[in-house]
């Protein structure tokens, strides 16, 4: 590993370098951003995006380099290395854009014009149709301050219950399952570096070698020890590192988890003392798993009984073992139960709440953890409180200086919210912050229809995302290195991203936007501060006493380099790197087994749609690709959508490697370049979801929802595959 010297962080006004974190995933790799030469007035507008970051770092533009930090140890992937390109992208928005009708082009407007227009339209819509006629959609990439103020803006300035965010698409199943098992959900309840000495790690539906590459450093010990187990229908780069790769059919992960629990009992690996002292409910969970003997599990999942036994032996006989879940196992209509199935296995082996072993979920988006804690979720208030809890409402409303009864109740979850747009009794206006739902939401064709039915669509973004391009009003906002703000990484550690460069003229922070709208809607100016640290200070008070208690975290402590994992209930509290060591967060201190059974995917293959499609990510792109598709080096490496297909399946469809294919489901169709992969199951195809327009994988996906978490089923739907040249008539597509 490269060793990179710690940067010197100078006082804010003069500094040209800032120790900060990557703008992308939840690993939040440490990096140094070097700003452009402040004395060069033309530094910003230069057209040097064609150059790699090293070449320009000494000259005029912002650049990044990695720094030592526990999560990335000085490593960066290609996305991180090229992230400075975003600061220099010619696609950057620097003026608000407005149109009176959707068939007109977007035209530049002043900030005052744009905000006046939005406020006036919001007032009119709410006067005519009620407070819930305006909805808000947030994102897991927003800082804690933005997520917090967005939730407050919705509940106080708009008085609407209709707010949710794209984290519903990522973290909700793991959060629901973690909460019901442990009483509290924090992605990794231990520092990521605890994995460094693990002898065995089971990754369920996580492809870290592509989604957070520097993370794989923490798996090296387990891999070298022959203890890395990867559960994935595809032979991913992560699976290639594993001693054991289990390939369940898409949508059968819960059956596999039940089968492994069965094996744990049958082979005598049950941690009986731990069960007696630290858990409840094993019997009811076992009575389900008893029906999943390995041979039956094999028949449903396709995972050999012998491999199931080997996996459990590796975990149970390791001195130090961890079980981690990712989106592959969570993004299902039975995602919460599936995660409960994995937690049940971890509890049966006695892993959670002990030093040197554990269960965790690998958070995806940059602030996927903090974003789910501070009130942009339909059912939540800051501090990971429930909005239907009277005590939580009383506390938060007192911090906000409003009557508790003025706070709305729980609203619709993300898919249901998008589905209600423009419908009778549904919202007629939508404000989007930090999300690109036209690409990232399931059944994307339907989302486009719903957005088109709105009276008003407002999108705040720093580039013209696919969603922004369809809006009535686009508000150009600042981005990562241009503003201060905190994020909470995958291990629950609160991080300060520091401003390194001056934002381009014309861009304003999301906090400014919320302030501008709130004051126009009649809110007192001081209720919506624009300074991130001031907002954070208020967030600390709002979170105090809640499950995710940030009250002891300060910018000062973060600047000093303290490693603060929440909860941090006091200013002198050292933080909580490892949770649950003494007790779990339920009232009785015990973890709960949850009796869950396999249901299978919401949509099965049939004669018309004989294949199963699963969606995911490639290394070079992040989420909807709105950012990474602007980076030439990343586009060069991964320019377009592809579909991974077994060579036999491709041949039966009349396709060869490199052909353009149409993949069609009951909901729509998408185009992708065929990539023949001998290691994929012949009944499965894989598509990355980062690509726009006709290449959107989410045109196919099934919006069937998990009954508990309201997570849509991104990871499995029935499709057929045809050559792009042949005419295709998808049945019932809309």
């Amino acid at each position: 590993m490269l060793t990179v010297p710690e940067p010197v962080t100078r006082p804010r006004r003069e500094r040209r370098e800032a120790a900060t974190h990557c703008p992308y995933c939840a690993l939040q790799c440490g990096m140094v951003v070097t700003g452009p030469d402040a004395r060069d007035p033309d530094a910003r507008g230069s057209d040097r995006a064609d150059l790699g970051s090293e070449q320009v770092s000494a000259v005029r533009e912002a650049s990044v380099r990695p720094r030592e930090f526990p999560t990335n140890r000085g490593g960066l992937c290609q996305k991180g290395w090229t992230s400075a390109t975003l600061l220099n992208t010619p696609a950057r928005l620097t003026t608000p854009l407005v149109r009176r009708h959707r068939d007109e082009p977007l035209r530049p407007a002043s900030w005052a014009q744009a905000l006046d227009l939005v406020a006036e339209r919001l007032r009119g819509i709410q006067a005519a149709h009620g407070a819930d006629a305006v909805a808000v959609f947030g994102g897991g990439g927003l800082t804690n301050e933005k997520a917090y103020l967005l939730g407050k803006f919705a509940r106080v300035a708009l008085g609407t219950a209709q707010i949710d965010y794209n984290g519903r698409f990522c973290m909700s199943s793991a959060a629901a399952a973690g909460t019901r098992a442990f009483g509290l959900d924090r992605g990794l309840p231990f520092p990521v570096t605890d994995l460094d000495t693990a002898d065995a790690v089971l990754l369920a539906g996580a492809n870290v070698a592509e989604t957070m590459p520097p993370f794989t450093q923490h798996l090296r010990h387990a891999a070298d020890a022959g203890g890395l187990i990867v559960v994935d229908p595809r032979r991913t780069p992560t699976a290639e590192l594993a001693a054991l790769h289990l390939r369940p059919a898409p949508g059968t992960d819960l059956a596999l988890a039940l089968g492994l629990l069965h094996v744990a009992v049958a082979e005598g690996y049950l941690a009986e003392d731990y069960l007696a002292e630290r858990t409840t409910g094993f019997t009811s969970a076992w009575q389900v798993a008893a029906n999943w003997w390995p041979e039956r599990t094999e028949r449903v999942t396709g995972v050999a009984a012998a491999d199931q036994r080997r996996a459990v032996r590796l975990l149970a006989e390791a001195g130090s073992a961890y079980l981690l879940t990712g989106r592959g196992t969570e993004q299902h209509a039975s995602g919460a139960d599936t995660v409960s199935g994995w937690i049940n296995l971890a509890l049966a082996l006695g892993l959670p709440g002990r030093v040197g072993s554990g269960f965790g979920c690998l958070t995806g988006q940059g602030n996927g953890q903090g974003g789910r804690e501070h009130g942009q979720k339909a059912d939540q208030l800051p501090g990971y409180r429930r909005i239907d809890d009277p005590a939580a409402r009383a506390h938060v409303s007192s911090v906000w200086g409003v009557p508790a009864e003025s706070l709305p109740g729980p609203g619709r979850s993300a898919v249901e919210l998008l589905d209600a747009l423009g419908q009778p009794n549904g919202p007629r206006a939508l404000l989007v912050f930090g999300s690109n739902v036209l690409v990232s939401a399931p059944h994307a064709g339907r989302v486009a229809d719903r957005l088109a039915a709105l009276d008003l669509l407002v999108v705040a973004d720093f580039v013209l995302s696919d969603t922004a391009a369809t809006a009535d009003v686009v508000l150009p906002v600042t981005q990562w290195a241009e503003e201060d703000g905190t994020l909470t990484n995958l291990e629950g550690r609160v991080l300060l991203r520091q401003r390194a460069i001056t934002p381009p003229e014309g861009a304003r922070s999301d906090l400014d936007v919320l302030h501008g709208l709130a004051t126009r809607l009649g809110q007192p100016a001081e209720r919506f501060p624009t300074d991130p640290e001031t907002v954070f200070t208020e967030l600390r008070r709002a979170s105090a006493g809640g499950p995710a208690d940030y009250s002891g975290v300060t910018y000062q402590r973060l600047r000093a380099g303290e490693a603060l994992h929440w909860p941090v209930p006091e200013a002198d509290h050292p933080g909580t790197p490892r949770m649950f060591l003494d007790r779990f967060a339920h009232a009785d201190g015990r973890a709960r087994f949850v009796a869950v059974d396999h249901r299978g995917p919401a949509e099965r293959p049939d004669a018309d749609y004989p294949l199963l499609a699963t969606t995911g990510r490639v290394l070079q792109h992040y989420q909807s690709g709105a950012q990474t598709r602007l980076v030439p080096e990343l586009v060069e490496a991964a320019p377009e959508a592809h579909v991974e297909v077994h060579p036999d399946t491709a041949a039966r469809a009349g396709l060869v490697d490199g052909d353009l294919a149409v993949v069609a489901s009951r909901r729509g169709q998408t185009e992708a370049r065929v990539r023949c992969v001998a290691s994929i199951r012949p009944d499965v195809v894989f598509l990355p979801f980062h690509f726009p327009a006709a290449q959107r994988a989410n045109l196919l996906t099934n919006p069937a929802l998990d009954p508990t978490s309201r997570m849509p089923e991104f990871k499995v739907c029935a499709v057929r595959l045809t050559p792009a040249s042949a005419p295709t008539v998808p049945k019932g597509s809309g």
Partner: protein, 534 residues
């Protein structure tokens, strides 16, 4: 309609359908669960379950684990004590049903009471069949001392109590259940001999070659075999005398010679009974108010003795009785036989007795008795029609999946037949010199071998210098060894007694770096990364 005083009123709603299930085994318990999954508050169905055994229902599939000593009695219980009350089920265990009055729609119970029904479901299961061999049965039909069957939890306890470690056990019958019992007992230190009158074990599911290999594998776990010879007489305290005059010494004989459907009640009630209680696709007997599921039922094309058909039938009957799916029907279960025996992996399905020379099928067969492997695949019209997979566990999983889903078989038949027994595609990590120039060395930063070679030519002569020039190794660092290997290889190429370094039109012999190689990796190269974290 007659209602007797003993019938509990429906717990919530009057007018609910009164359903009585006779039998609280795997089929009856499953049916009760499925009815309550569809009607959790007993609005539609008032449910009574009658079981003759005193135990709560238990998982019969797992009895071989109990016999092998790897599971306790507790672990195989299907329900705990509060289950019936929690689920509005009137459960009566330890109580036999004495008769069915179809005209009155009541069942009589051994305690003299009776229960009225609107729909009756018989889930009475099956019992072990005892071959007519002297010394197995007492005059009243009971078992002689030193003889046991293997059907119930109590049988497990009897079998394990009857012998100690080193004790001799004869298992009469080399079918699936007999072999599971034999393996379990051998694993617990008993000296086990399987006596089977046919030429090879599991002759219904296996061809002779597979049967031989399986017997060999079981022998290596301590099980002995006497095949092709029947038992003539059991002499208590001595053992089994065989038809050829020899004797298998045994303190205990475990009879596992097949089962017979438990049809006594149905016969007495005048229902149509053949080998089992005859049912249609709605699982109805000859009386439309009486259903039968599981081992006691005879549905065309369904093999009895397995749990999967019973469970699927329970779902259909639950759909019908709760009206959750009034059109539900049962059309048979595709059977995959799996031997549940520690360290032995065997799956058999479909047509297995097809010869490799059969003109109308594609048949592959690999025999590897020395390593305990036997793989046979019967294909018709590109689909799996039958298979025997012994000792090739991951191939068994794949073949089963193809069979169940009717999917076309992969073109690479050998890979299908052997699964993970074949070397993985690509094999071990190639050395730096052998890789094509387009191979991605550093996946985290999409750096190909060609780009590293170019950087090396431009003066980056160490791994650190290459990292600075290309960012290779600066992600997860897993390709560090590969980059160092490349530096060594390039340096060796450059040494005086070697040809010029790779690349360029003048050195076409340099492996992996074709003439005019550029920095760029092509699209397809991303499929062939070097395994990192060696």
């Amino acid at each position: 309609m007659t209602r007797t005083a003993e019938v509990l009123p429906p717990p919530t709603t009057t007018g609910a359908l009164r359903v009585v299930v006779v039998g609280y085994g795997m089929a009856g318990a499953r049916l009760a669960e499925q009815i309550r999954a569809r009607d959790p508050h007993a609005h539609r169905v008032h449910l009574t379950v009658v079981g003759a055994e005193p135990h709560a229902a238990y998982n019969r599939v797992l009895l071989s684990n109990v016999l092998a000593g790897t599971m306790s009695e507790w672990a195989v219980r299907l329900h705990d004590d509060g289950w019936a009350a929690d689920h509005h089920v009137d459960l009566r265990t330890g109580l036999a049903v004495t008769g069915i009055d179809r005209a009155a729609r009541t069942v009589g119970l051994a305690d003299g009471s009776s229960v009225g029904y609107d729909a009756l479901v018989l889930a009475t299961g099956s019992r072990a069949w005892l071959p007519p061999i002297e010394g197995l049965c007492t005059e009243d039909g009971g078992l002689q001392p030193g003889v046991a069957v293997f059907r119930t939890l109590d049988d497990c306890a009897r079998i394990t109590a009857a012998t100690g470690i080193g004790g001799r056990v004869a298992v009469l019958g080399g079918g699936l259940l007999g072999l599971e019992a034999a393996r379990g007992l051998a694993g617990r230190g008993r000296r086990v001999t399987v006596v089977h009158p046919m030429g090879h074990v599991m002759e219904r599911q296996l061809d002779a070659g597979a049967g031989r290999v399986l017997a060999k594998v079981l022998s290596s776990h301590g099980v002995e075999f006497r095949l092709g010879v029947g038992a003539a007489r059991h002499v208590p305290g001595v053992g089994l005398e065989l038809a050829d005059g020899s004797t298998v010494p045994a303190e205990l004989v475990v009879v596992s010679a097949g089962v017979r459907a438990e049809t006594g009640l149905a016969v007495a009630a005048g229902l149509a009974v053949d080998r089992g209680i005859v049912v249609d696709d709605r699982l109805r007997t000859s009386d439309p108010n009486v259903y039968a599921i599981g081992d006691c039922a005879q549905h065309p094309g369904t093999v009895s003795g397995l749990v999967q058909p019973a469970w699927e039938q329970a779902e259909v009957v639950a759909d019908l009785l709760t009206e959750a799916a009034p059109d539900a029907g049962y059309r048979g279960t595709s059977v995959v036989t799996r031997l549940k025996a520690r360290d032995i992996d065997l799956a058999a399905l479909g047509e297995v007795h097809v010869d490799v020379d059969a003109p109308d099928a594609e048949v592959l067969c690999l025999q590897d008795p020395a390593r305990g492997r036997y793989a046979k695949l019967v294909l018709r019209e590109d689909r799996v029609a039958g298979a025997i997979m012994l000792g090739v566990p991951d191939a068994a999983a794949t073949v089963t999946h193809l069979y169940d889903r009717g999917l076309p078989a992969p073109a690479d038949r050998l890979a299908l037949l052997l699964g993970g027994a074949l070397p993985a595609a690509g094999g071990a990590a190639a050395s730096a010199g052998d890789l094509p120039a387009s191979a991605v060395i550093c996946r985290c930063n999409t750096v190909s071998k060609g780009r590293l070679v170019s950087a090396w030519r431009e003066g980056a002569r160490t791994a650190d210098a290459l990292a600075t020039a290309t960012r290779a190794t600066t992600g997860c660092g897993g390709c560090r060894d590969a980059v160092c290997g490349l530096v060594d290889w390039l340096s060796a190429q450059e040494s005086p007694d070697q040809p010029a370094p790779a690349g360029g039109p003048e050195s076409p012999e340099s492996p992996g770096v074709p003439a005019g190689e550029s920095d760029e990796s092509d699209e397809s190269s991303q499929q062939n990364p070097v395994p990192v974290l060696a």
